[in-house]
């Protein structure tokens, strides 16, 4: 069987698993929307669209939406299912089949990517009543979904790495919390040039910054290829590292 078929079969199963666990899916929608509403409610008046240049005529909700999208894409629930599978023995059952070890990694990543496309689309639609519009048009919409989805695959790759190494739900869950400092060490409330100098330096070294700026440019402006390119480049580098590490760990898994 080709690797594409293997990934398709395993990915379909992972999607079915997500669909059948709505209680795990709900927070990935609710919490990002909660943050969007709270951030907009707290800072919407401080940054009125009429007099705030960096909003490009939109509301503050449009500026803060990328934070919510990245948050929604960084729950890594797929890795928790993986730990469950390891603990329950089903992972060994899959390892005992003659499929590529890489397919075991990519199946879940692909499912996470597709799931995130759908969740991101719903999140954006829910954000529209807050005065958000996608300034970059239909292509921008598509790039927004793709970039967020690819980020979710990178992040779940990181979580899967913890899951495979520790085989512990607690450790994997705690590992996921690493995203919160990374999310706040970004220009998530104001653009990078308005941050204090130490914060600006921290944000510059934080890869999440470039993904956030890429997403933001797609929402607030017409297609800004430099920002978009940086976002995709960061995802590509992190993605390659995550995939290589995942494949290595799964091949040496005892």
């Amino acid at each position: 069987m080709s690797m594409v078929t293997e990934v398709n079969v395993l990915g379909t199963r992972a999607l079915r698993e997500a669909w059948r666990t709505p209680e795990a899916l709900a927070p990935t929608l609710f919490i990002p929307i909660f943050f969007l509403v709270v951030n907009f409610g707290q800072a919407g008046k401080i940054f009125p669209s009429s007099s705030t240049d960096f909003l490009h005529g939109q509301t503050y909700a449009a500026f803060t939406l990328p934070s919510s999208l990245l948050l929604g894409a960084s729950f890594g629930t797929a890795a928790l299912y993986l730990v469950e599978e390891i603990e329950g023995g089903y992972f060994d059952k899959l390892r005992a089949t003659p499929i590529s070890r890489s397919s075991l990694v990519f199946g879940r990543l692909a499912a996470e990517g597709i799931k995130t496309v759908l969740l991101t689309a719903v999140l954006i639609i829910l954000a529209l009543p807050f005065g958000v519009s996608i300034a970059s048009g239909p292509l921008g919409w598509a790039l927004l979904l793709i970039m967020t989805s690819l980020w979710s695959m990178v992040f779940v790759g990181f979580m899967q790495l913890i899951a495979l190494k520790t085989r512990s739900a607690a450790a994997t869950n705690s590992g996921g919390l690493i995203f919160f400092p990374l999310l706040f060490l970004t220009p998530n409330f104001v653009p990078r040039d308005l941050l204090t100098r130490p914060m600006e330096i921290a944000a510059t070294f934080n890869p999440v910054t470039y993904v956030m700026e890429g997403l933001r440019s797609l929402i607030l402006e017409d297609l800004q290829w430099t920002a978009i390119g940086r976002g995709f480049a960061v995802i590509a580098v992190c993605g390659v590292i995550m995939v290589l590490l995942n494949v290595k760990v799964i091949r040496n898994y005892d």
Partner: protein, 282 residues
């Protein structure tokens, strides 16, 4: 080690001498916080085609570790293992195509239905969707789960899960079926059902490599058994041969039970402690 016989032909009455599973000097070491742990210390095994081979031992003796090495799920520290003549370490994918594996704790995905799980398993072994669906239907009938086929597995009883696990290990018609403690935790009725399944599978020509802690199970099902203790094989032969050997060695009037063979082989005795009979290290 008291090695009584390698030849199962006398037990089975057939002429097969081809080896289904072969291990020479199999070793597994773990590096733990307290230093190196020798889980398996030089195991030699010869399992012939079409036999039911029982692999017995106390908890922590190295049974599951040996099975995991033979089924490609764990790396081998030293020694060699071949399944149907294929080297486990150098050609793991080919070995995986030829074996079925049902490990302890019935490894199943609770969110799928029984049918979905079997179809998925078939697909992963290279069957088309239609063939996998047909095979799933056939196996569901074999393990008597047709009525529960479209229910999610998290609603299955322990016995149903075991039978489904067994079915999932058979989806690609393996030459060798590895069953790691297939009846642990099952009620007596479910245990008997699993025994029947194992006999039926073996009758169809599949070699069965079975680990168990239940001596009665080994006595009922196995053509030959090996007893492992502290990572080494301490007895090997047919149940009858092992009993006869102990009877002769101890000058007993009648055959001992397999329990007594086991206790003798592992250096354990049974003592009454706190009102209960317990097995203790001798």
């Amino acid at each position: 080690m008291s090695q009584v016989s390698h030849d199962p032909r006398s037990a089975r009455g057939d002429s097969s001498t081809a080896l289904a599973v072969e291990a020479e000097g199999l070793v597994k070491q773990y590096r733990g916080r307290g230093g190196t742990v020798d889980a398996v210390r030089g195991v030699d095994l010869h399992v012939y085609e079409r036999e039911v081979f029982g692999f017995l031992g106390p908890n922590g003796a190295g049974k599951s570790t040996t099975v995991r090495m033979l089924t490609t799920l764990m790396s081998i520290t030293a020694g060699t293992a071949r399944v149907t003549g294929v080297d486990v370490a150098s050609e793991p994918d080919l070995v995986r195509k030829r074996i079925g594996v049902a490990l302890q704790e019935a490894g199943l995905d609770p969110r799928q239905t029984g049918r979905e799980l079997l179809i998925l398993q078939g697909r992963l072994f290279g069957l088309s969707h239609a063939d996998a669906a047909a095979k799933a239907a056939e196996l569901l009938e074999l393990v008597e789960l047709v009525d529960a086929a479209d229910r999610r597995i998290n609603g299955y009883s322990g016995g149903m899960k075991r039978r489904l696990d067994l079915a999932s290990a058979l989806v690609h018609q393996p030459a060798v079926l590895f069953l790691d403690e297939p009846t642990t935790g099952l009620d007596p009725a479910s245990r008997l059902t699993v025994w029947d399944e194992v006999r039926r599978i073996n009758d169809r020509g599949t070699t069965v490599f079975l680990t168990t802690q239940y001596l009665e199970e080994a006595d009922q099902l196995c053509d030959r058994i090996a007893i492992i203790d502290e990572g080494v094989i301490v007895r090997e032969g047919t149940p009858q041969q092992l009993k006869s050997e102990l009877r002769e060695r101890r000058g007993l009037d009648s055959d001992p039970t397999l329990d007594e063979v086991f206790l003798d082989a592992t250096g354990r005795t049974r003592e009454r402690k706190a009102g209960e009979v317990q097995e203790v290290a001798g």
